[in-house]
């Protein structure tokens, strides 16, 4: 897969390094020559120096044949323009734009940007998860609101502790998808035993959350 990354800051650099590690073809467009030189020393000959909002620079970077164009500069106006150019002028496969200011999300959406990544929103959600008292925490809510991926730490007071998955009275429409057992990932089957202290990931509708909480993480008796 060919991925064109515009913006060689921290996000662009780590994204590029990760993709190169997975054997993808990568180009990073970076405007600042010194930064580009630094990155070149770190991850190899994949840098193109130039203003990535310019159509001529995007063309030289092979925007039209890119499977993914990731606009990850620190400037939302630049990211919006790059995403618009990639999608509508060059017809690139898929475009992703970084949102530096989450308040720009409605505009990005109205402008038809397909994929949006907001590091500040993600960070805010992670911190909220850490400080929240809720025992059933939402990891990912699907856009239509019908289901979410949630996590719960299995309490020793739960009636489900030390029982095989098939014997646990799961609330309707909820599905256990993953068990984190002392840092190991387990894909559950009906015979898998869940133990107190396990972190459980489930797909469940929002209305099932109270039932999940009383089943898996009840108040201490």
């Amino acid at each position: 897969m060919y991925v064109l990354i515009v913006g060689g800051g921290k996000v662009g650099f780590h994204l590029g390094r990760m993709l190169l590690g997975k054997q993808h073809e990568v180009t990073i467009v970076e405007q600042r020559p010194a930064r580009a030189q630094l990155l070149q020393g770190l991850i190899g000959d994949v840098l193109l120096v130039g203003d990535g909002t310019l159509p001529s620079v995007l063309e030289a970077a092979g925007c039209a044949r890119a499977d993914i164009v990731a606009a990850v500069t620190g400037d939302d106006a630049a990211n919006l323009l790059i995403a618009a150019l990639a999608a509508r002028h060059f017809g690139a496969g898929r475009t992703i734009a970084r949102l530096n200011d989450p308040r720009n999300e409605p505009l990005f959406r109205l402008c038809g940007v397909e994929g949006m990544v907001s590091s500040s929103s993600i960070l805010a959600e992670l911190i909220e998860r850490e400080v929240t008292a809720a025992r059933v925490r939402t990891l990912l809510a699907f856009p239509n609101g019908g289901a979410a991926i949630v996590e719960v730490d299995l309490s020793p007071h739960s009636t489900a502790a030390d029982r095989p998955v098939r014997e646990v009275p799961w609330p309707p429409d909820s599905l256990l998808i993953l068990i984190l057992h002392r840092g190991d990932v387990r894909i559950p089957s009906g015979d898998t035993r869940i133990e107190a202290g396990d972190r459980l990931l489930l797909v469940a509708p929002p209305e099932a959350e109270p039932a999940l909480q009383s089943l898996l993480a009840p108040e201490a008796p």
Binding site: T53, L54, P55, S56, D75, D76, A77, A78, L80, L81, A84, L85, R88, H89, R103, N104, P106, L107, L110, C111
Partner: protein
């Protein structure tokens, strides 16, 4: 007419002052307070400090009831975003966008923007003035002068 001008550089200030003097209800937006001083003491319109693509700034500038928005900053990406915000978030019909880098002229037009093609305007004037001086300097004596 209510006209919102985004960007108060030399060009933005010139346009805002002229439109205001001609009797329009003009509002000027710039991120920099000192740029707004270019408007001078006699400017009677409204000024707002902030980013032209910031929704709250555009609300302060009452863009929704503007007859036209003229986007005149010297950064093309900013101009693009401001224009999209005025159109998509506030439904302004008449939005004109300054083009700084000639590369964006055709691309902005292709993306549906109404452009003010600054490089091309300058080029046109240069070509006309060269054409004039070429006529004057081609060796033909001007009428009524002796050789």
């Amino acid at each position: 007419m209510r006209i919102v001008v985004i960007g108060c550089g030399r060009i933005g200030a010139h346009v805002a002052k002229s439109l205001s003097a001609a009797g329009n209800d003009v509002c000027v937006v710039d991120t920099d307070v000192s740029s707004l001083s270019r408007l001078g003491d006699r400017f009677r319109g409204q000024t707002v400090v902030g980013h032209g693509f910031d929704q709250t700034v555009l609300e302060q500038a009452q863009v929704a009831r503007a007859d036209a928005v003229i986007v005149l900053t010297n950064v093309d990406a900013t101009n693009f975003m401001v224009a999209r915000a005025a159109t998509e978030l506030f439904g302004v019909r008449r939005v004109s966008v300054r083009v700084n880098d000639p590369e964006f002229a055709s691309v902005f037009a292709e993306l549906g923007l109404n452009i003010l093609d600054l490089p091309d305007l300058v080029l046109g004037q240069v070509q006309r003035s060269l054409a004039l001086s070429a006529t004057a300097g081609d060796g033909t004596p001007a009428p009524g002068t002796a050789r």
